[in-house]
């Protein structure tokens, strides 16, 4: 890469990045530690040793392990099945399997209660309901369903980068059957990606909040994150404040303990992989009967875990009252009329505005770091940013609250700061990935043709980067739109986002209105998602580039 910016601008950019990272992440985390030290009077062991706290921590670790153990095999298997070019309905399944990504996680959790819990869809139609849904097993199951697409995306990226089709063809033509190839070639090559996906799922589950809150909290099943939420929103006394801070520190330490060795171990192996080319990941044709069975299993899985719950949610939002059968005679728009109050409309406006501002700023920040990262001095910033991806949102929110709460408590600005800190990696990874794939000779050729540094970037680099920029914006926009972990801790009167309103409505037990709000929120996410997805797709296919959106890049960041 030739130098693209004069020295002065370079120094200013580095300073800007350093200031933002320091203010949004480093300072709040230090302040968190400082407050913990002060409030506990230096006696950390006493705070961390309390029995309740221990139970919540144990629940979090067991839950994260169990979710990882189940989600990783399912996600990898899905990726292996879906790369078969002759799978019936492959194009449809490839989109369908990602639906849980687009649906906010607490909506997914809530939709399961509408489908399978008492008075849910199966109860009112077949008289069957599952009492265990509200409790640890239900939390585990829905978290698995929620994590599978993430593992799937990481595995797809790994397959594209490592298991090139010729490696498998060479094995087949050396006399190995399809199954032997899987065991001796494909899976060993996929191992780094699988390990990375496992670490990612584990730490993200440690930090997950919404699903344990919706399904676990009502049954008295506490995790670290729900406990912090309870401490801060219900507690209000100094003891629970101290406990929240202690848990937040515990959470970030636990995460660091997993991520640091994993990154040291896996980082080089993942980075040495050649650039992903999803089109090369096509596998050999196989037996049609086996493909049909695979398609049927996939269809069954998606129907039970995603389609039926979401359908039940939509039905619940249209069905007049709880307990009446969800038949057309009982349909109506009452719940929607009930929830479409000025307060909801304001929250909707706030959510969209916040997401637009956050996404736009994030793309700017992400691009800045991605460009800086191409020089040695900028790599530290890149690594720091990537680590914020696994920084638990709850910890971040608590840290920001105690650092800036004095001035910004309950304001949208504080939520915006939290989004910027947490989602920076979401913007950074896709842009950095696209920059890496941009052949340096293209920029050199522009410079050698007489273009100045900025002209070269504008005329040659911007167009190929457009899908990544748009994709990064989309990912940030969607994530900000259905974010609830941090906003539920940081909102105040007059700064509720729509997601917070849905969560509160659910906690109040207003089933029909919650369903209606969930449907509204999902539509709010799904409509722009599909529009922008189509735009990104068109941009990419016109350039002959890989059609995948930036999500795999984000997923690989772990």
């Amino acid at each position: 890469m030739p130098a693209v910016a004069p020295t002065g601008a370079r120094g200013a950019a580095t300073a800007a990045i350093g200031t933002v990272v320091g203010a949004l992440v480093v300072l709040p985390l230090l302040r968190l530690l400082q407050v913990l030290w002060q409030e506990s009077g230096g006696d950390l062991a006493r705070v961390l040793g309390s029995a309740d706290l221990g139970a919540a921590a144990r629940n979090s670790v067991v839950l994260a392990s169990a979710v990882t153990l189940a989600a990783v095999p399912i996600g990898v298997a899905t990726a292996l099945v879906l790369r078969r070019p002759d799978l019936p309905g492959r194009a449809f399944w490839r989109v369908a399997v990602l639906v849980p990504v687009v649906v906010p996680d607490f909506v997914l959790g809530y939709s399961w209660t509408q489908a399978y819990a008492r008075a849910g869809f199966t109860d009112s139609t077949l008289g069957l309901h599952w009492a265990g849904l509200l409790g640890p097993v239900g939390v585990w199951l829905v978290l698995v369903v929620n994590a599978v697409p993430l593992v799937y995306l990481v595995a797809v990226g790994g397959l594209a980068a490592r298991a090139e089709p010729d490696a498998e063809r060479a094995a087949r033509v050396s006399g190995a059957s399809g199954r032997t190839v899987l065991v001796t070639v494909t899976l060993p090559l996929l191992l780094p990606a699988v390990a990375a996906a496992s670490v990612l799922v584990f730490v993200l589950t440690l930090g997950t909040f919404a699903i344990p809150q919706v399904l676990g909290a009502p049954a008295g099943f506490d995790t670290v994150t729900t406990r912090i939420y309870a401490d801060l929103s219900i507690g209000g006394d100094p003891a629970s404040f101290l406990e929240a801070i202690a848990l937040a520190v515990l959470l970030v330490l636990g995460t660091a303990a997993c991520v640091a060795p994993a990154d040291a171990l896996l980082g080089p192996r993942l980075r040495s992989a050649r650039p992903a080319d999803p089109q090369a990941a096509q596998a050999l044709p196989g037996r049609p009967a086996a493909r049909r069975v695979q398609a049927a299993v996939l269809a069954g899985y998606l129907a039970v875990t995603t389609a039926l719950p979401l359908a039940a949610l939509v039905l619940a939002s249209f069905t007049r009252a709880l307990g009446v059968p969800p038949t057309p005679g009982n349909w109506g728009l009452d719940h929607f009329r009930q929830v479409l109050t000025p307060r909801t409309a304001e929250a909707l406006g706030r959510s969209v505005g916040l997401a637009v501002v956050a996404a736009s700023l994030l793309v700017l920040l992400g691009a800045l770091v991605a460009v800086r990262e191409r020089r040695r001095s900028g790599r530290v910033a890149g690594t720091l940013i990537t680590l914020t991806l696994v920084l638990p949102g709850t910890t971040l929110a608590v840290a920001l609250l105690i650092t800036y709460g004095r001035w910004l408590s309950g304001t949208l600005t504080l939520i915006l700061l939290a989004y910027l800190a947490k989602l920076w990696a979401f913007a950074h990874r896709p842009i950095a990935g696209a920059l890496d794939r941009l052949p340096p000779d293209e920029l050199r050729a522009a410079r050698a043709s007489g273009a100045g540094a900025l002209t070269a970037v504008r005329t040659v680099a911007l167009r190929p980067l457009a899908p990544a920029l748009l994709g990064a914006w989309l990912v940030c926009f969607l994530t900000a739109l259905h974010e609830v972990t941090m906003s539920s801790l940081l909102y105040g009167p007059g700064s509720e986002t729509l997601a917070v309103i849905v969560l509160n409505s659910q906690e109040l037990g207003r089933i029909g209105p919650t369903a209606a709000l969930s449907v509204l929120l999902s539509l709010l996410v799904a409509v722009p998602a599909s529009l922008l997805w189509a735009a990104v797709h068109r941009l990419r296919s016109r350039d002959g580039g890989p059609p995948a959106l930036g999500i795999p890049e984000v997923a690989r960041a772990g």
Binding site: R162, E164, D166, R169, A170, R172, V173, G175, L189, L284
Partner: protein, 322 residues
């Protein structure tokens, strides 16, 4: 009883997402024979090899290996049950396996134990003069070394037919010649037939018993190297197989194909030397003549100045439709 062809292809049609990559190709390779597939990129060479190997299922046509139908009126036979081996253009080595384990891989698949397979693999690596690299992984090998390992893996399969998919395309020129000699020697020793895809005319003419010219998914011409070089069916085939000039026939009508060695300086015809290129063992002279542009190859360094009038003689010409 005459031996069955090692490979027999009839009416092969392959389509990729709506575009036709092969349009009814028929070919046969005798046991022990080397057939070169010569064509520009995108002509369907790799597609043809992939269809023979079983990496894709053709839309129509049959493939028979040693008399056994593997594509046609039977369910398509998977690659592992076809009696053939492939050397890939991009080596296709497995990043997680050492050289010896890579070469042992096909032996293991035949049911041999780990120790025996490794012993056989080490023997092959010795034969290819890379025994000292046995424990290295692909990332620690040069391109030429990687391709030797790839060749070793193919040899370990002990097939009746080798498929070479431009195996030298990614090798440096000096490594290339040595590797090619190695490859041909090992393949001839094994007695197996080979289908060798390349876009390099010299390579194809130099190593094959017969050459098949491929253009846009169909066969232009199949013949001995001398036939396809000396008697190309059309101008495209002529250009594919080597440098060629096309001039008006000096006596009479029509156009003539003239290879660089088919004319010499000095003789009854007149011309003016436009450019001359010293190529080491010989020099290429490009002449403007009343009949058209002619390229003449003479041994040794150039003797005439550019721009001088030179006489020349036509030794041989091949009538061609332009």
């Amino acid at each position: 009883m005459p031996a069955e062809p090692a490979l027999e292809i009839t009416g092969l049609v392959v389509e990729y997402d709506g575009t036709t990559a092969l349009r009814g190709v028929s070919l046969s390779v005798a046991p022990g024979e080397v057939l070169a597939l010569l064509g520009p990129s995108g002509s369907g060479k790799s597609t043809l090899l992939h269809a023979v190997a079983g990496f894709l299922v053709p839309r129509a046509g049959t493939v028979r290996l040693g008399g056994r139908t593997v594509v046609g009126d039977v369910p398509s036979v998977p690659p592992e049950r076809r009696d053939l081996a492939v050397v890939f253009q991009n080596y296709a080595l497995w990043p997680h396996l050492s050289a010896v384990d890579t070469v042992a891989y096909p032996v293991r698949r035949r049911g041999a134990g780990r120790a025996r397979a490794r012993a056989e693999a080490r023997e092959l690596l010795g034969l290819l003069r890379i025994a000292h690299l046995a424990d290295r992984r692909p990332a620690e090998l040069s391109g030429g070394e990687q391709q030797r390992v790839g060749l070793g893996r193919a040899l370990a399969r002990r097939p009746s037919l080798y498929l070479f998919d431009e195996p030298t395309a990614h090798l440096d020129t000096h490594v290339r010649t040595v590797f090619l000699e190695e490859l041909v020697a090992r393949q001839r020793d094994s007695g197996a037939a080979a289908l060798y895809a390349t876009h390099d005319a010299e390579e194809a003419l130099g190593l094959a018993d017969r050459v098949a010219l491929l253009r846009d998914g169909h066969l232009l011409q199949v013949g001995t190297p001398q036939q396809v070089y000396g008697e190309p069916v059309d101008l495209f085939a002529a250009r594919l197989t080597g440098p060629a000039s096309v001039i008006d026939a000096p006596a009479g009508t029509g156009r003539l194909l003239v290879r660089p060695g088919w004319a010499r300086l000095g003789g009854p015809l007149e011309g003016r030397l436009r450019t001359v290129r010293f190529r080491g063992p010989h020099s290429d002279h490009l002449l403007d003549t009343p009949l058209g542009e002619v390229l003449i190859r003479e041994p040794g360094p150039p003797v005439h100045e550019i721009g001088t009038c030179t006489s020349w003689a036509l030794v041989h010409g091949w009538p061609i439709a332009s």
